[in-house]
Symmetry: C2
Subunit: 653 residues, 2 copies
Amino acid sequence: MQPYWIWYPGDFSLYHALKQNFSRVERGFGWPAFWRSEPFRQRVAFRCTYQLSAPTTFTVYTDAVGYVMVQEEKYPFGVEIPCPAGEVSISIHAGRIDAFPAVYIEGEVVASDEGWMVEDYADPPVPAGHSKLYTRRDQDPTVPEYTEQVYLPVSVEAVQGGTLYGFATELTAVLEIDAPPEQFQGRTVYCGETREEALAGKDCYHFWQPDRHGRCPRCALRYVFLPGPALPVRAIHQFIDIPVRASFQCGDPLLEQIWQAAAYTFRLCSGLFFIDGIKRDQWIWSGDAYQSFLVNRYLLADAEIDQRTMYALRGRDPMAAHINTILDYSLLWVLGVWEHYSLYQDRPFLERMYPKMRGLVEFCCSRTESNGFLFAAARDWTYIDWADLDKDGPLGAEQMLLAAVWDTMAAAARAAGDSQAALEYQQHAEILKSNIENCYWDADQGAYIDSYTSGKRHISRQTNIFALRSGIAAGDRAQSILQNVLLNPDVPAITTPYFQFYELEALAELGQLDAVLDRIRTYWGGMLDLGAVTIWEEYKPDLPREEQYGMYGDPFGKSLCHAWGASPIYLLSKYFIGLRYPGGAAFELQPQLRYFPRLDVRLPIGEKGWITLTWDGRELTVRSNCGGRILWKSQWVALPCPDGGETACTLTA
Amino acid sequence: MQPYWIWYPGDFSLYHALKQNFSRVERGFGWPAFWRSEPFRQRVAFRCTYQLSAPTTFTVYTDAVGYVMVQEEKYPFGVEIPCPAGEVSISIHAGRIDAFPAVYIEGEVVASDEGWMVEDYADPPVPAGHSKLYTRRDQDPTVPEYTEQVYLPVSVEAVQGGTLYGFATELTAVLEIDAPPEQFQGRTVYCGETREEALAGKDCYHFWQPDRHGRCPRCALRYVFLPGPALPVRAIHQFIDIPVRASFQCGDPLLEQIWQAAAYTFRLCSGLFFIDGIKRDQWIWSGDAYQSFLVNRYLLADAEIDQRTMYALRGRDPMAAHINTILDYSLLWVLGVWEHYSLYQDRPFLERMYPKMRGLVEFCCSRTESNGFLFAAARDWTYIDWADLDKDGPLGAEQMLLAAVWDTMAAAARAAGDSQAALEYQQHAEILKSNIENCYWDADQGAYIDSYTSGKRHISRQTNIFALRSGIAAGDRAQSILQNVLLNPDVPAITTPYFQFYELEALAELGQLDAVLDRIRTYWGGMLDLGAVTIWEEYKPDLPREEQYGMYGDPFGKSLCHAWGASPIYLLSKYFIGLRYPGGAAFELQPQLRYFPRLDVRLPIGEKGWITLTWDGRELTVRSNCGGRILWKSQWVALPCPDGGETACTLTA
């Protein structure tokens, strides 16, 4: 077994999350994220006991200070350490201040692989953490493992007394000038997501003085402007290479192009963590990440990035502030952990998270009132969406999420064998749902209101969509919401792609697939029509192209490569290809073939599974290395689990 | 007002405590302290509002990433920022991963001095922290401010095929070879606290390969051995220069020499923090620090080193483990904070500490049983002393300390205006004392027992000394303990200088000054007779000189410069010079002149006060810049507070 770097579980994420959340640079100054930053541990001890049939040796590599203890003998790091036969207890004592302590143990028998425990002198020992990204001794776990790809400009234009270089697509790149230092020293390089931004001088987000090697810091760019004489430049695109495990051909060029742009956008925003956007904020936001978890399962199905992101968001215990300061983002984190577990079924991870889930809901409970409604304490942010919600008193939408959280906690407690807690959580859920019914349901309007304290009885899509999503509104009530809210033009429209994710999901769940596909074509297609190569943070179809780039009162404030725009991958896969994950290596397929002239699709199933669909308008062939069932002409067709091989079936329309 | 570097209060200590506790190096490997390490904050915001009568400018210096916000405008660090007249709100947003964020603000009006608040996005804003050691823009608060003093060897001896260099005294020094690199490269330098250690090869604690400048890392040394040809060497002694504010001449050369050695030892162990010893452990131990607080008031009277040490020990909230893992060390921390406040009366510091004191006793309460007795949970260490105590069940000595802690908490709560808590703490004290009486007092033996659960009814000096110290045993009971324990040769003797501190203090409190002075002369004098220039961690009068250096099964394991050996300063000042601090700028003097042929003594009173005593065997002259009273021929003689000048009086025997 290949050894790997080991550390205290979660500390890799806490350290790199600090780097990530402090990496935002805007017009020459840094903008570290404005929420509580959670520190990594500086002093840990790794322990493992071996039963050795013969003497052996091993070596410990680390940048920490400390020592290795074999039985009662101490050794320094970096030297070959002898180990006698028999039962041998090894401990590694490591301290580091500027980063988290990590060690790599190399030896024929004694190595840093499974079985190592780690402690921090506060909590009981836990299994050591590791990553499949860090398996080689010559790696440094404090440095992101970037894959590099060199891009040369595809356009070079003399303009504004300088040269504008255009690249084929948007990149997270180090711009490098290939010229002697005297030719670039003292000159400024302007980077832009668009031509307009690169030419906007000090209004563009990222401008740099190249270092003595002619290199600028890694940043989002598609265009680069260099005032003065032209020089040869190249962009070294740096990314964490998480393989794409899905492909989507459907015979509809627009949908295929939307899928491609969404997938490319998603990959750019998927590094060590799910971040919101690559130019702005480059921060780890829980609400954005939650949607990324749902896209991830259909595109990369990489469990580790989910887990790294969940560790980074939740931080350490006890909780002292909401995740990203936002009520709903704390709640979405709980839902995300459980949905992750439901698919990947990584039990050790759930065991690490369950106390953190409990700690989070305990923290939330300290901010609930007599009805069990979650309210915002001083400095808490009730976000939900950039929209006009009636935020007087406890907000309806938050209670819908909280109800889902109580249900989730009950399920998680059952999975963790904590039946007493499961009962309590279930009671919380029941009481809350009953109080929601009494306070927020408006029978006259046939919908839930945002606030029961203001007296305005304001209806929003957001609150009702979360009521649907939490299972509070089903059956007739769901139909009522569909008619009175979702299909009602008098209820203000959703304007953010963030909440369109939930709106289109709700419409799809209610069978409104035509409307969903129509929106995908017009909204996402609209961006592509304007030349987008990645999906934007926001898109207002009514605005002319030149006004599309501003946001937050800033002429180039909008992020043009924003993860939450990747939702078509989720919507197309789940509701049109019709793939659902009942959990583990299994699938459930309800393909909506009427929307596609043909299909050639591959999708992942958890960490190791895959499924392919081929459809020629007449015959559907499904192959998979997992078992599952397909709904075909209103009948479930079962595909047995192939147990190491493949299963396949062909169905005729 | 000179500006200073500002940071989140306590974070300077948390960062440097990590460095301090990770600095121990032993025979080529690092030995980071084995307890929970408390991280500093990585993301903070400083805020201040100014009422500006005219426009002004200021500049912010820092190694953090972030920005400055003036009203709604953002600026980078390091540039001159304009400020309009009127009410101006300034915030500074700073993030740093490898060290704590600190800023220095320079400007005619806007500067980093009083009035800045800081927040960490979890707790409410608090006044920013700072240190009188960091007042210049060109300083780096992450680097200790060492004063350097160059020592040349006072002896050079050809021995064992190399050269042994001896220095005049023990140093914390960088050894530097003044020769071309080719003459020292690949050679090893052996440092020792003694000749024997420096010549012991790989058995000595600190041996180094000099760097390319011929320098070895800073370490404790008095002797240096260089195998092979002699080269010119010098020792660059590096220390935090905290001025000594006491002097002691008494006409008794031995006592003067003991005072000098104790004072020098204490200064070497007083850096950014009170550490135990300069060779070993170089760690911040709460029990050692508590005694240092008591010595400090008579020698340096530096409040900041107390406070830095208290912050470093207590760490962050909530408490998850005892300080240094030791029950008694948690309790001593509470006593230390209160005694510090009683003398220096720094109210803002008490306000920062009071919640931490509360948090600590809450943590302790989670480990008390039905009698209110503190017990050791798994992985807790019941230390008290290196001695054979009967540690079955809750240990008596711990309960004595806990009783003192409850009394202290009641006093602290009253000072903090928290009268409800004061009442509760007082109740805790009363219940605990009553239960101690029932369970631990042994009327037959006339003393307190260590354990009431084992049935052995074992008597130790330690438990009874802490009973005296906590005020549980007074009057007749104190006399009973004096006769049955302290003066009883059948009760095992104290062997550590650590607990001799408490034993001699107890004897002095009970008026046994002859015995105390005799012990100082023989025990401390005994070390000096063996050539000590600093006071040792332990001294066993019966052992020959060559066996004095071993400890913990290690031939050079004993620290030969150990802070807890400085107690003669405390004992001589408090019980023989007779100076007590009633609090603030005031003194109470009960000189025991019969012990001294003459006196020429100066002692500090808090941060700014001083007192001098001159005694010629006939006349005592006392001068001070504080007011106080002197006990003279059984009468109190009052000296009024001189209010800016000096007060003086001469008394005749």
